[in-house]
Assembly symmetry: C2
Homo-oligomer: 295 residues x 2
């Protein structure tokens, strides 16, 4: 599993939460930085990766993006893989600019993310630059295939040539995943498939044997461990399940709110993470992939 | 017309161009800021809007995003509308975060852009939050419908229920454009339609009478003034045609390179802008909309 870093001012625990009247983006951004580093400290020994949601940092303007950079670096230093959830894309050399800037550890990228989520609407020639950079830098991308939101089907489920659009996207993603597959059998290109569509998870797992699945929609959006079981291959690998609000704001939800309260919010994060790992172990083929053993 | 701000280190004029071995993103970002402000100084009296391409700033990390914020503010202060070309999107409240942060002049938005380009793959419920914020703040969004790149048809041209996917997107965009239409007849939601597909421009103009068209692909990508003529309505309004490299790097291309050279790059920008306005006047119904008179 991985933990989504989706900070929101109003949900931060007391002591970190900005005043409701706070309007300076730099002050809110600083609180996001302290909060996210606090989450990273707790989850780094438990999970292989975190997924900062770019939107919540970008919402705060340049000050937010500066803190996003700090959070990516901090998580990397703690040994976590960082999947930046930016849903970026553009055409040709502009896509190369995103890929070059965002992907790659160390000095090669000012952002230093290990992977990025990418939108497919612009077609294959917009995805290729990301694939090229990902291969060079041992990084990855996750292409939106079947998203977790209720209205995701509006265009994704349109049927063309007997297949919904998301299956066309899946076929293209599988082709480039296969071309870039390493010894583990998986390529540099994965797919975002929502936990809220368990049947499609099974169907797509069969159709995309070389693509890592990034599975959002667990927890707050309604997906359960049983729902995501189909995302894993027979060996219990091939998928990584995200939970954002259910983990980072555990201090606001039962039973963690009662047990720990706001003042012990990091213990709530830890307990919620361990509980989710246990659920994935019990109800999916993930085995120890659910925790630190997986990538 | 509008001018796209797509800075690239290697194409900046001498005096602004960073050394080829420069690796500090902050130094390159500072050069981008000086260059873009120099372009804005020249084009502000000539055109109604500029379109910074977020990717080239984000490529430089947080330092680039800080300069992007400066450029947006500078262009607004010079009286230009700013269309941020971010092709952003996400689901539900995450889309709201992008919309809230990016759209809106003055103190309500740390970015202060008048409009944003948005990707439709996630469906209608991902577009609604942008529409809501755009309405509240008298801002706008441009949804990708038919993009200008050669491979754009891979998913956009798939035919479902007798219509290509981009026409399904167009129908949804037209519906919300109509709902938000003001006295001018156009709504808060427009469409990105590439100059490289002149037939589809005509078809979509008919199908989307309430949607502003943002038309990329003119110039470097091959689109001509005749190609974009179909983007305008009978009154010569309803579309705004973008040119990025053809204007901002005019000092590198004939006849401007010979006439002005790198040392007079701002005069090259001015001449290229005026020439494009003249072409749009001659070959489209745009009339004075091609220049400062239009929005």
């Amino acid at each position: 599993m991985l933990v989504g870093l989706d900070p929101r001012a109003g949900s931060l625990p007391e002591g970190l939460r900005p005043s409701e009247t706070e309007s300076d983006p730099a002050v809110i951004a600083e609180a996001y930085g302290r909060f996210c580093r606090g989450v990273v400290d707790v989850v780094a020994p438990l999970v292989p990766a975190v997924k900062p949601q770019a939107a919540f940092f970008e919402q705060l303007g340049p000050a937010g993006m500066t803190v996003l950079g700090d959070v990516v670096r901090y998580a990397s230093e703690k040994g976590l893989l960082v999947i930046l959830d930016g849903k970026r894309n553009d055409i040709g050399s502009t896509a190369t600019a995103y890929a070059d800037g965002i992907l790659g550890s160390g000095e090669r990228s000012p952002w230093g993310a290990d992977a990025l989520t990418v939108s497919p609407y612009l077609g294959g020639d917009s995805l290729e630059p990301f694939v090229d950079v990902a291969k060079q830098r041992e990084a990855g991308i996750f292409v939106l295939v079947k998203t977790s939101n209720p209205g995701g089907g509006m265009f994704q489920d349109l049927v063309a040539d007997g297949l919904p659009v998301y299956r066309h996207v899946a076929r293209y993603v599988e082709r480039i995943a296969e071309q870039t597959a390493g010894q583990c059998g998986y390529g540099a290109v994965g797919a975002v498939v929502g936990a809220t569509y368990p049947e499609q998870l099974v169907e797509l797992r069969t159709e995309m044997p070389h693509a890592w699945f990034l599975v959002p929609g667990f927890g707050s959006q309604g997906g359960t461990a049983r729902d995501v079981a189909g995302a894993f291959d027979a060996g219990g690998t091939g998928a990584i399940v995200n939970n954002s609000r259910g983990i980072i704001f555990a201090h606001t939800r039962k039973p963690y709110a009662d047990r720990y309260g706001e003042s012990h919010w990091q213990e709530a994060v830890e307990a919620a993470t361990q509980d989710m790992i246990a659920q994935l172990r019990a109800d999916t083929p993930a085995g120890n992939l659910a925790d630190k053993g997986g990538a």
